[in-house]
């Protein structure tokens, strides 16, 4: 079991090293985040719509797009020189490959979120420090949810034509439930509602995560073994 994690970590580190070298995906994600935040800010009429009403939706649109960018390149990397075959030949379990990808994707998305969240608070003048703890909890849980499913699906779509179109279509129904709960919880937290209200949605997010991370972990070998 320790081996599984060790190998996963080696794989994740490799992914992050490659991403750090090429930098294209992370930069696009960061640029898009800033762009969306700016457009939403200029686009709204401050007298008509309070920032707090729109805030959760805007935040989650940016995070979702960052996740999609990460997921799209996740397995493309392995197909370039058939490195995936190399991974399958090596004495590492298939689960390590999934875990490694998952961890690397999470770091990628977390990086974008770490930049997006402060910018969001800044541009929209939304105080978040008083609920920072629970807010980070919501963000973490929701992100794990759709990145877990997305990592599994990207292993399948990477080998098809129109991979970049197919992945969002497949992922959409799986992203909506955690997004709904995340937007509701974020809204409740930012509006200063008692923590107990958000707790219900946090529980749902946690349940979704546990179920789907396990499921993806179990199903991943079926996508790469012949």
């Amino acid at each position: 079991m320790a081996d599984v994690w060790r190998h996963a970590w080696l794989l994740a580190r490799k992914d992050l090293l490659v991403e750090f070298r090429s930098r294209t995906a992370i930069l696009s994600a960061l640029v898009f985040t800033v762009l969306v935040l700016m457009v939403f800010n200029f686009g709204r009429d401050p007298t008509a719509v309070a920032a707090v009403d729109l805030a959760p939706s805007i935040l989650w649109v940016t995070f979702t797009f960052a996740a999609m960018l990460a997921l799209n390149r996740a397995f493309q990397l392995e197909l370039e020189n058939q490195a995936l075959d190399g991974l399958l030949l090596a004495p590492v379990s298939r689960s390590s490959i999934y875990l490694g990808k998952l961890m690397a994707n999470l770091v990628f998305v977390a990086t974008v979120e770490a930049v997006g969240l402060p910018l969001f608070a800044l541009f929209f003048n939304v105080p978040i420090l008083h609920v920072l703890g629970p807010l980070l909890g919501v963000i973490a849980l929701a992100t794990v949810g759709f990145v877990a499913v997305g990592t599994l699906f990207s292993a399948m779509t990477a080998r098809t034509r129109f991979a970049e179109l197919l992945l969002p279509v497949l992922l959409l129904p799986f992203m909506i439930p955690p997004l709904i709960w995340a937007v509701l919880a974020t809204g409740a937290l930012l509006a200063g509602r008692p923590l107990s209200e958000a707790a219900g949605w946090l529980r749902l997010l946690a349940a979704f995560d546990i179920v789907f991370v396990t499921l993806a972990f179990v199903l991943f070998p079926a996508t790469v073994n012949e």
Partner: protein
């Protein structure tokens, strides 16, 4: 071939029974007090949504069985069920708004049944698109099984999020599809309709499965 004929026969029976449901719902079932005759669409829409959900559930179960037993029949069944589910969902999604507009004044409401069906439609669409994008039959079957299983597991979570949709968006008219509290004749009509839709599902899937089998036999090498 025999399977196809059986399928056609079952579907024929189903369609005849469907006509009977219409007749019963319109002529022999009492009109609901608060909502008037418009409520009667409920006898069609609820079982249709249920059939689409059944279709998705069976796609998932077929996926599990395929991964465990490697029998291509399960993959064929999954494909058939997904296509039938897509058809049911599309019918629901088109008749729903067409009915809703004159009654409620809007094309779309976040009504629980419609939303659920939309989710199911998206799942089915993804499933069929994935199948279309993979040429190797072995790989296609495995990928479909994985996606189908994920769809099956998603179903309870869809219910949990749709509930929140409804509390957020108050309905122009609150439709209550809760079966137990229905009086006798309405319950009978509803249950009858459930039965009919299940028969239709079986009929359509049987035919589709048979066609799939025939196609495979006609092309010896895919």
């Amino acid at each position: 071939m025999r399977l196809l004929k059986t399928g056609r026969w079952i579907t024929g029976v189903g369609l005849a029974l469907l006509a009977a449901v219409y007749v019963r719902a319109l002529a022999f079932t009492p009109v609901e007090r608060f909502q008037g005759p418009a409520q009667k669409i409920f006898y069609i829409h609820v079982p249709a949504a249920w059939s689409a959900m059944l279709a998705m559930g069976l796609v998932g179960i077929a996926g599990i069985l395929f991964l465990l037993l490697k029998d291509p029949r399960f993959d064929r069944f999954g494909e058939a069920s997904a296509e039938v589910g897509t058809a049911f969902s599309m019918v629901m999604l088109t008749t729903g708004p067409i009915w809703a507009k004159p009654i409620w004044g809007t094309w779309w409401t976040w009504d629980a049944r419609l939303t659920l069906t939309l989710f199911l439609f998206l799942l089915f669409l993804g499933y069929l698109l994935l199948r279309g994008a993979v040429t190797d039959p072995g790989l296609r079957a495995r990928y479909s099984a994985v996606l189908g299983i994920c769809g099956l597991v998603l179903l309870p979570f869809i219910h949990l999020s749709v509930y929140f949709f409804r509390t957020l968006h108050p309905q122009p008219i609150v439709l209550k599809p809760s079966a137990p509290s229905l009086p006798g004749p309405m319950l009978v009509t509803l249950l009858f309709s459930f039965l009919v839709f299940t028969v239709l599902y079986v009929g359509f899937v049987t035919q589709r499965y048979a066609l799939s089998l025939l196609r495979e036999q006609a092309e010896p090498h895919a």
